[in-house]
């Protein structure tokens, strides 16, 4: 296993720049997820690490060696494709043994390794079956098996659960993470599904328009989004945004939104002009004393919780509150926030402002 270090990686297709100046490090044994909407450059980045695309410029260090312009077969990596790419003319055993055959491994050893891997993935009973007759989850396991069997430097996975139905996906998410915990393989996993990313990743890079918007742990990304894009992309429902104007100074602990004072984490930088207050739905409370008021627009009952949409002068705000609170549509409510959990952004550009909350989180991440 090896560390993956991506430095100033750039990829252009003609005039279109798919990946802009990417930098990140996947530490040895880490499960790294690249998350973003389709067309954000995550798959292109993965394919460059794999050697299926050559970068326009930049470096990809695999275990300290720059492999950016090497052929795929010289990189010693394994790739799991979205559609699995199991060779249809070979049975499960041959599919899994195919990478070992390339290395010129003796037949008996291939057999032993394939069987060992199959047992690890609990597919040893399928070894002599044709791949075309397999169910989605089993295909997925065979594809994983073909990747694991070689014991490569790292695993690259391109939306491998994308074609499975929701129920099965949850199962495979657990299985994948459990597998990772057992073999500690450096893994780069691409997905557009935030739940998959949150559930599996040690580190996440959120990408948009070829740029990494944020790189961090799932907790860091959820609690302290670096940009409004990240705040909006992660979380369901996404973060609420309330725009306000004003001059902010370092040390401020309160901002004025729609004429109401709102306590926020202590600011570490000053800013002028348009700003946006970001609040996760679970950090919104109803408080009749609050001067920030709105009318209940609708509720979504989720069993243990409900999502209440409130129409304020500055737009809709969604609150996640216990399901037993009785709320009726049209009712006027006051909104209060969990001050320590709020984020502040620049309206132009969407960058998050430095606050005490972010500082503490960064310090904790540094220690961890």
């Amino acid at each position: 296993m090896a560390e993956i270090r991506v430095q100033n990686l750039q990829k252009a297709f003609g005039a279109f720049v798919a990946v802009k100046n990417s930098n990140f490090v996947v530490e040895d044994g880490e499960f790294f997820v690249m998350l973003g909407p389709s067309g954000c450059g995550k798959t292109t980045t993965l394919r460059m690490i794999a050697g299926l695309e050559l970068p326009t410029s930049g470096q990809i260090l695999l275990g300290g060696e720059d492999v950016a312009f090497r052929r795929a077969r010289e990189r010693d990596i394994a790739f799991v494709f979205q559609l699995f790419a199991l060779y249809p003319h070979m049975n499960v055993r041959k599919n899994m043994g195919f990478p070992l055959l390339a290395q010129g491994m003796p037949k008996a050893e291939i057999r032993a390794r394939v069987e060992e891997t199959a047992r690890l993935l609990r597919i040893d009973h399928l070894l002599d079956r044709s791949v075309s007759g397999l169910a989605g989850g089993d295909r997925q396991r065979v594809a994983l098996g073909r990747a694991i069997v070689r014991r490569p430097k790292c695993f690259l996975m391109d939306e491998p659960l994308g074609t499975l139905d929701a129920e099965f996906r949850d199962l495979m998410v657990n299985e994948l993470r459990e597998l990772h915990n057992r073999i500690h393989a450096t893994t780069v996993y691409v997905t557009h599904d935030q739940h998959e990313a949150m559930a599996m990743a040690d580190k996440i890079a959120v990408m948009n328009h070829g740029v990494i918007e944020q790189f961090g742990t799932p907790r860091d990304i959820y609690d302290h989004p670096a940009t409004m894009f990240v705040a909006d992309f992660i979380g369901s429902p996404p973060m609420n945004f309330l725009a306000f104007e004003g001059t902010l100074a370092p040390g401020d602990r309160s901002v004025t939104v729609q004429g109401a004072p709102v306590a926020v984490p202590e600011l570490r930088e000053g800013a002028t002009g348009g700003h946006v207050l970001g609040a996760r739905p679970e950090h919104v409370r109803f408080d009749d004393a609050s001067r920030l008021r709105g009318a209940v627009y609708g509720t979504e009952y989720l069993g243990t919780q409900q999502i209440v949409t409130v129409e304020t002068a500055g737009g809709m705000v969604k609150a996640r509150i216990p399901a037993d609170v009785r709320i009726s549509t049209g009712e006027t409510v006051g909104l209060a926030f969990d001050a320590a959990r709020l984020s502040l952004f620049e309206a132009a550009g969407g960058r998050a402002l430095a606050t005490a909350a972010r500082e503490i989180a960064a310090r904790e991440a540094g220690h961890g």
């Binding site: 794999a50 299926l52 795929a72 394994a78 790739f79 060779y87 003319h89 195919f98 390339a102 070689r150």
Partner: protein, 315 residues
């Protein structure tokens, strides 16, 4: 019926019967000439030119005897002085006041046809597969123009280029050689092969080769071990089309071959019997000529069907 649920239009039993009747009637009409040739090949020469034509006749393999032999006319005394006939062909020939002088040219011509048709089919499919893979997977500059150029070589009728090719072949010493004919048929067929195979290879997801290349194989190995096995249907269909063309081709063969490299199509009509065309022998030659293509087509009929409906069932 769950199967019916997937079909847009469910044909009724009556519709199916009408369709089947139409197909059978059409097939019978199409097959009459072939059946007539087959029947003629088992007639005696007098039966073959009898008027009114004989539908019912005593079968004879005289046509086949005449196809494979050359005969000379002899006097009755000469024939009577010969030792007893050694077989049916010998006996029949003697009854017509002739003796077998030796084997005819049919067998070598038939072998020429086999060598030239299968040889050129192999070359066309081999080159076509490589070219189609290249067009399908790489960014080839001017790919569309090149593909059109390749197709355009088929737009002229063969007879329009026959004379220039004849002159070129004479200069190059390729006239009446198997190599010349293989080259010519390959050139004609390769355009068809590239176009057909490109469609088939386009359908094979790139991920298969990418997976193989990541698994440690070179592109050529990935092509051989992963792409080729999946392209077999397309390759088989293309091979049949190429083979049928090369096997049946008459114009070029008649013009460019006369002796050692002559193929069966121009040879068969030249079988001359005593006092006119020996129709049973011509029919026998035609019947035998049909066999290889029939066998090949039946063996690969599934692929051929897919080749014919190619493009119609996708997208």
């Amino acid at each position: 019926m769950s199967a019916a649920a997937h079909s847009v239009v469910v044909p009724s039993t009556t519709a199916k019967r009408v369709a089947a009747t139409l197909v059978i009637v059409y097939a019978l009409i199409s097959m009459i000439p072939l059946l007539w040739i087959f029947a003629t090949s088992f007639k005696t020469p007098p039966d073959s030119i009898a008027y009114p034509p004989k539908i019912v006749f005593t079968p004879s393999i005289e046509g086949y005897c005449n196809l494979f032999t050359t005969r000379t006319r002899q006097t009755r005394e000469y024939i009577d002085a010969l030792p007893a006939p050694t077989g049916f062909c010998d006996e029949t020939t003697r009854k017509r006041n002739m003796v077998i002088a030796g084997p005819s040219n049919f067998l070598p011509r038939f072998v020429n046809s086999l060598v030239i048709a299968f040889g050129s089919t192999f070359c066309a499919v081999f080159l076509g597969t490589l070219a189609a893979y290249g067009f399908s997977r790489f960014r080839v500059p001017l790919a569309d123009d090149l593909l059109f150029f390749i197709l355009s070589t088929r737009m002229m009728p063969p007879i329009a280029v026959a004379i220039p090719i004849y002159l070129m072949y004479r200069e190059l010493g390729l006239s009446d050689t198997a190599l010349g004919m293989i080259l010519l048929y390959t050139a004609v067929n390769v355009s068809l092969a590239v176009w057909l195979l490109k469609g088939f290879i386009d359908e094979i997801p790139r991920e298969y080769e990418e997976a193989a290349m990541i698994d440690g194989y070179t592109r050529l190995q990935a092509f051989r071990k992963v792409v080729l096995p999946q392209a077999t249907t397309g390759i088989a269909a293309t091979a049949i089309f190429c083979l049928i063309f090369a096997w049946n081709e008459y114009a070029f063969a008649a013009l460019l071959t006369s002796g050692t490299a002559q193929t069966a199509p121009p040879f068969i009509p030249t079988i001359i019997g005593e006092g006119g065309q020996d129709w049973p022998a011509v029919a026998a030659g035609t019947t035998i000529f049909l066999v290889p293509i029939l066998v090949f087509t039946i063996l690969l009929r599934k692929q051929l069907l897919r080749g014919i409906t190619f493009g119609a069932v996708r997208k």
